[in-house]
Point group: C2
Chain length 249, copies 2
C-alpha cells in the first residue's frame, strides 16, 4: 500500500483543532490541489471562499447550527457551485447562454465540479498531517450564508470545510460492505441479497457503538437513517436553487 492510499484509507472527520492558523503557503497548496481536479468539459464551475474574518466565522458557525469547529479551526473554506463566471463571459463574448446555465444538467455539473475540487483539498490537507470536516450545516441557511459572503446570482454555497491541526483522534467508522456498494455489470436486483447485506451491516454498526459506549448504545445503520430521514430538512432547497438561477429547466 502506498502513502497516498494510506492517507485515503485512514480518513476520519476531525471536529476539534489546535488553536493554530494555517499558513498562507498551506492554504495555497490546498487550493491549488483542489484546482488540479478534473472539471467537466473544462467548465471550471466552482469557487472557493476562504474565511479569515473572525466575525464571519462566528456567524457561519451560528448559521450552521452552532458547530464550534466552524469557528475554531486552522482555516475555513466554503465551496460553491459557480456559474456566475459564465454569465460574465457570456456578456464579454456577446452570447446568450441562460438556457444552458439554468438547466438541471449544468446544476449537476457545477455541484460535481465543486465536490471533486473539495475532495482534492481534503486529501491535500490530510497528506500534510492536517485534519478536516465537511460542514453541510451551511445549507441550513443558505440565504443568510449567501448574503454574508456576498455571493452573486448563479453562485451557490454548497458546504464548508474546516481544516486544521487535529486535537482529537477519533476511530474510523466502518462503511457499508464493499459488496453492497460495488456492483458488477448490473445493479444488484435480488431484493433478498440486498436486504441481507443491509442486516449484516447493521450488526457491524451496532457492534461499533456497543464497544464505544460500554453497551449503552447499539443503533443500527438502517435505524439511524430511518430516524434521520423521517424528518425532512432543508425543504426550501428546490426553490432556493431556482431563485439563484440553477436547476430551473
Amino acid at each position: 500500500m502506498n502513502q497516498t492510499i494510506e492517507t485515503l484509507l485512514s480518513h476520519r472527520s476531525i471536529r476539534k483543532f489546535e488553536d493554530r492558523a494555517l499558513s498562507g503557503e498551506q492554504i495555497r497548496t490546498i487550493v491549488e490541489s483542489a484546482q488540479a481536479a478534473s472539471t467537466s468539459s473544462f467548465i471550471q464551475a466552482y469557487s472557493i471562499i476562504g474565511i479569515k474574518n473572525p466575525e464571519t466565522k462566528k456567524k457561519l458557525a451560528e448559521l450552521a447550527g452552532n458547530q464550534p469547529y466552524v469557528e475554531e479551526n486552522g482555516h475555513f473554506f466554503v465551496f460553491c457551485a459557480d456559474l456566475h463566471r459564465h454569465d460574465v463571459l457570456a456578456e464579454m463574448e456577446g452570447v446568450t447562454i441562460d438556457e444552458s446555465l439554468e438547466s438541471t444538467e449544468k446544476f449537476m455539473v457545477a455541484v460535481i465540479d465543486a465536490a471533486l475540487a473539495a475532495q482534492n483539498a481534503v486529501i491535500a490537507a490530510e497528506s500534510m498531517g492536517l485534519g478536516a470536516v465537511y460542514i453541510g450545516g451551511l445549507r441550513n441557511s443558505l440565504k443568510e450564508v449567501s448574503e454574508l459572503l456576498k455571493t452573486p446570482q448563479r453562485v451557490l454555497p454548497l458546504f464548508g470545510l474546516a481544516v486544521g491541526y487535529p486535537a482529537q483522534n477519533p476511530d474510523k467508522k466502518p462503511r457499508i460492505h464493499f459488496e453492497h456498494v460495488y456492483h458488477e455489470d448490473v445493479y444488484e436486483t435480488d431484493e433478498n441479497v440486498y436486504k441481507k447485506e443491509l442486516k449484516e451491516y447493521n450488526e457491524l454498526i451496532s457492534e461499533y457503538y456497543r464497544e464505544r459506549t460500554s453497551g449503552k448504545r447499539s443503533d443500527t445503520w438502517t435505524g439511524q437513517m430511518a430516524s434521520m430521514l423521517s424528518k425532512p430538512t432543508r425543504m426550501y432547497m428546490k426553490e432556493f436553487t431556482e431563485t439563484k438561477g440553477f436547476n430551473k429547466r
Copy 2:
C-alpha cells in the same frame, strides 16, 4: 511537497490505455479508497457499478458518444447517486421517508457523496501509476444507461470513470488563476477585477494552444465556453431526475 500532493498536482485526464485489465485487487483498493471518503451525515448515498462485460462496455461507449476509451481501458466504473438503499431501509424499518428522499437537498447530498467517492477513486488509481478520465458523456442517454445497468428507482448514474495503464502522456491544462477561484471572506464583487482576471486567463490559454498547434489554434477560454454553452445539451435532465424520484420538491 509530499508524494500525495505531487499526485494531485500532476493530474491529467488519460484517454488512451494499454490493453491490460486491472486486477481484482487493484479494483478493490480503488473502491475501498472511494468508500473511505466523507459522506453527508453517514448517509452513504451512492453506488458504484464496475463493468466487466465487453458487450456492456461497447454499448456504453456508443451511448457516451462513441468515445473509444469507454470501451478500451483497464476497468470501467459507473458512479451513481443512490437513494434506493434508503427506500429499502424505510420498508425494513416501517417508516415513510419519501418527502426527504424526493427533496432537492437529498439530490444534492447524493450527487456530492458520489463525487467525493469518485475523486478518491481517481487519486487512488493515479497513486498506483494508473490513469483515469471521467465520462460525463453517459449523461447523453441516461434512460438507456439505466436500462442497461438495471438501476432501480432512486438510482441515477452520474458519470463513468475509465481507469487503466496510461498509453499517452498529455500536458497539464492550466486552470483559472488561483486569485480568480479563491476569494477571501467575500466573493469578489468588483466586476472590473473579475473581468480583468478572465482576460489574463484567456491569454494563458491562447498561448497554451498556440504552442501545441504551431500557432494554428489560439482559442480563448471565454470563447470556448461561450461556444459550448450557446448550445444547450441534456435538457431532458430535470424531468429525468424527477422521473427517477430525485429533485422533486
